[in-house]
Structure formats: structure tokens, C-alpha cells
Symmetry: C2
Subunit: 305 residues, 2 copies
């Protein structure tokens, strides 16, 4: 019987998993090949839904997040990309400091760039101000950042982690059907991997201390389900979520559906490291017992020799 802790301990001992910084995980060896195979399977699920893939950069503006009311919703998770004061004097102070890391901290400039907490904000921002004759379905994957101080656990909950999303923006019926198909596809994938998924209704962990947060919580009342996968010690882990945001983002980003009404949006999101952990907990760390063949090593000949 495997648990998240036993699996992570074995991978650490084998040198296939390590943490270069708190909440950040590196992988190599067979575990990395399994991670990539799972990412590719999940990408194919996403592509089954999406008209096309987008490649989005790892960050977006504070303005985009403000438009999505992110600061009132999840300020606790926010992670920003900050650079140093570019003045020669400040750079010189950092470069010459006896403790340059400490000096660098005090030279950081205020920033207006956030590391993305989810992929789908890029989609709403790109569609802002448009009217959609047809529903938009697109897929994108990337690193997302959510700071959960004191709760980091390798593969289970990282500061940075890998998310595959599929987004639908259209009318309410488009999004409802999209969400149902997403649930079916994720459950099918989990069973193909020998896992026992449980679908559960869920609520986003809004920061509800503020009046505004509470109001949002009421207003969003978004339809959210999560796919829970067993972690082996009676615990489960949300490995995918299926979200209907109603007209929240359509309103916020002024996106209209074919009828001219604010568009409805929904997203299906997979946390790749969590799928890896669930497969390892169910089947162990020996590749011979895995239900999926890791991707073959690329057979590159040296181009020049």
C-alpha cells in the first residue's frame, strides 16, 4: 500500500525528485518519462475539445487580474515577477554587497506583472471587447503559481505547478455541454490509468474576509466540480476541475456571444503533477507496474560528429 509520502520518499532516495527551492520540484529518470507521458495523454484529452492550441507566456499584467477581480478573490496566492531598480547606483550596490542576495531584495522595484495563477485569464484578456459568432474552444498548458505557504508538498501542492487547461467561451448551452464532456473525458482517463475517480462538487477557496470577497462569492456562485483521485491513506486529491463561470468573465472583459449578450465561459483544468502522484500512489514507483508506457527516449543521432 503506497502513500504520497512513501512515493515521494522513494523518488527522493532514487534521485529522481528534488526541490531546488521551497515549493518547486525537479524530476529526472523514469519518473520524468512518466510525467511527460501523462502530460501528453492529458494534452490529447484537451485537444479533443479544443479547436486549437495557444501558447501563452508565464505571466500577465496586474490589470488583467484586476479586471477578473482576482485581488479580491485569491490575494493569498498571488505571485509577482519583480526586477531590480535599473539605476547604475543601485545595481552597483547589489553587485558590491557582502551579502548580495539580501541587497537584491531591497533593490526590487514595484511590479505590475503577475506570474499566472491560471492559464485561462490569457484567453479572456485576448478576447476582450470582441463578439463571438461561434464559441471559442482553446487549449493551453503552462506553469502556474499559487503561493500556499506552509502547505507545500512535492507533486501534491507546489508554489509552481503545471496546468493543462481547455477553455470554452460562448453561450450558456455551449459551456454546459463542454463541462459535461470534460467530466466524462477526465473520468475515462482516470479509469484507463487504473485509478478510482470520485466527482465532487467544490467551491473555490475565495478570500472571504473582505466584504468584496463575500460579495464575489455570492455573485460568482460558479458551478464547480472536481475530480478527486485517491492518495492511498484515505486522502484524496483534486486532480482536475470543471468550471462554469456563467457570465462573470464575459461581463468583466466585455466579450459578447452571438446574440450580443455577455458571453458565458467555462474551463476544464488538469494539474499534471497531481496525476503523476496519483498514478505513483496507485501503482508504485517501479515502471514495470505502470499502466502507461512512458514516452520513448527520442533517438537523435548526433547531427554532426
Amino acid at each position: 500500500m503506497h502513500t504520497a509520502a512513501s512515493v515521494v520518499g522513494e523518488l527522493r532516495a532514487a534521485g529522481e525528485l528534488w526541490e531546488p527551492a521551497p515549493g518547486l520540484v525537479a524530476l529526472r529518470g523514469e519518473t520524468l518519462r512518466l510525467f511527460r507521458a501523462l502530460a501528453e495523454m492529458i494534452r490529447l484529452v484537451a485537444r479533443g475539445e479544443a479547436a486549437e492550441e495557444w501558447h501563452v507566456p508565464p505571466a500577465l499584467t496586474f490589470d488583467t487580474l484586476a479586471r477578473a477581480d482576482y485581488f479580491a478573490s485569491f490575494p493569498q496566492w498571488l505571485t509577482a515577477a519583480a526586477h531590480l531598480d535599473a539605476s547604475e547606483r543601485e545595481l552597483e550596490r547589489v553587485a558590491a554587497a557582502a551579502q548580495p542576495a539580501a541587497a537584491a531584495v531591497s533593490a526590487l522595484r514595484p511590479t505590475a506583472t503577475a506570474l499566472q495563477p491560471a492559464i485561462c485569464y490569457h484567453v479572456y484578456a485576448a478576447l476582450a471587447g470582441t463578439q463571438l459568432d461561434e464559441p471559442v474552444f482553446c487549449a493551453a498548458a503552462g506553469t502556474c503559481w499559487r503561493h500556499e505557504a506552509g502547505r507545500f508538498a512535492p507533486l501534491e501542492r507546489g508554489w509552481a505547478f503545471t496546468m493543462q487547461e481547455v477553455v470554452c467561451v460562448g453561450c450558456a448551452a455551449d459551456v454546459a455541454a463542454f463541462r459535461t464532456r470534460g467530466i466524462d473525458a477526465a473520468e475515462t482517463l482516470a479509469r484507463r490509468l487504473g485509478l478510482q475517480p470520485v466527482l465532487a462538487q467544490a467551491t473555490d477557496p475565495f478570500f472571504a474576509a473582505s466584504t468584496r470577497g463575500r460579495a464575489l462569492l455570492q455573485r460568482l456562485r460558479a458551478l464547480k466540480h472536481e475530480l478527486l483521485l485517491p492518495l492511498g491513506d484515505g486522502r484524496t486529491l483534486a486532480a482536475a476541475s470543471f468550471n462554469d463561470h456563467a457570465q462573470f468573465f464575459g461581463d468583466a472583459f466585455v466579450i459578447r456571444d452571438g446574440s450580443g449578450a455577455p458571453a458565458t465561459s467555462g474551463c476544464v483544468a488538469f494539474g499534471i503533477e497531481r496525476w503523476l502522484l496519483a498514478v505513483l500512489v496507485e501503482h508504485g514507483t517501479d515502471p514495470r507496474n505502470w499502466p502507461v508506457q512512458p514516452l520513448p527516449e527520442p533517438t537523435a543521432a548526433r547531427l554532426a560528429s
Copy 2:
């Protein structure tokens, strides 16, 4: 005759390239498929050299960078990942603010986590304190961050960009041969893509204002070459670099070669967006004229329907 500006203008007009934030580029459509095909070709070049691939997270500690004397070398590029003060009071202040983005800036906590300026620091950190019986060859790709305020140009110079690296840590002869093979492989790839590469000796843009920076510059005197690709208007762009760090990182991270001496290290690095730009400048934005077939769309059937 295409130029970087004309190509980027065409992609923007076609909706295949946009900037969600300053220095950050998103891609879709045929351009994205070409980007992925080039990334895969470059990955195969890297895999031809590397014993294995590593998957590294997008950030590392200030301590690792300090050990590599990064703060004295390139403080101007440094980008950090910062999160908010987790106190209820501060989060409430941000959530309830009339200008939450501005409030968030003032709630950012000092940080000790840097977004990686290059991939290879992860390798030196992971090998710290070890003795290598055999040279290590590994490959890894990821997003790197270098802040070059006022110099951002889409695909040419981004705040965040995609780097494929191959790293060799061993003895001096291992690294010298590795570097030569890397140069050959990159030149061969460029010619296969119909480009006219020029190999040039180069110097890292050390921050030389500080005494320490100048001393480093003397001491490192690293052997560096760059592969320059034409940008169509008489300009060229460094699309790959080939670096021999001598014993600098072996000393800094206490890595020993088989003889017990500080290990020698070298790396070969490819900037994927720059290869994309060079191919587009040479061949234009019409996919029918590209010298490489974009990867086919994955043909995923809906898993559940």
C-alpha cells in the same frame, strides 16, 4: 526581403502573435506549430549530446545564484518571484482596496526566489558537493527571465523566453570536445533550415561597474562563442551560445572531476524564439515556404462522447 519588424507586424495582424504583458509573447496558429517543430528539432540536437533530460522548475534560490556570483555578474537582468504578506490584515487591505493592483504592489514581501536566468544553474546546484566518476551530460529546457528594460522586441528579446540547454560537467577535455560538437550541430541545424550562420567570439555582458564585476570578468574570461543568424536588414541575432566556464562553477559548487580536481563545465544554449524569428525572416510568414514541416496536429478522438 523580410525583416524582424515586417515579420512581427504580419504575425500581429494575423492574430498569431500578441503581447499579454511587456516583454511577454503569446503565439497561436501556424506560427505556433512552427515554433514547436523548431523546439523539437533543437531538443533532438540537445538529446544527441545528453545522457538524459532533466525537468527543472522555473525558479531557484537567491542562494544558488549568489554561489554562482550572479549578483555581481548580471544584476541588471535579475527577476524575482515575490508573494504577498500572508497576514489577514494585509490581504484584507488588498482585497478591499479601490485600486487593488496598486495595493498588492505595496504588500509584496521580500523574496529569496529568483526566476531562472538560465537553466544550467540547476545542474550545478544539483551536483554540488559531488565527485563525478564520469562526465555528466544533461539537457533541459524551460522559460528563462532576463529583464532588459527598453530593449524588448517580440521573439528577438523578451523578458521571458524559452531556452534549451545542454550541460557538460567533467574534465577540461570533455568540455572542450562537447563545445566543439555543439558548434557543429548548431551550424548543421541552421544550414538545414536554409539559414546562413556565422560563428563569432563573444563576451557575456557582465555588469562591470563594480570592482567585483571587473574582477569576475578577468577571472571568468570564459570561452564563449555565439551562433549569429541574419535578421534581414544587415542585423544578426545570437541564436545559440557555446560556453566553456573552465573551473568556475566546479569551484563555486564544489564539484570534483574523476581526478579530484574542481570539475570543468560548459553549456550550449539555444533561444527558441530567436530561431523562430530567423526562420520567419529568411522564409517569410507563409507556411508553404517554410523549410520544415510543422508538427502535425495531434489527432485526438474525444475520449468520451
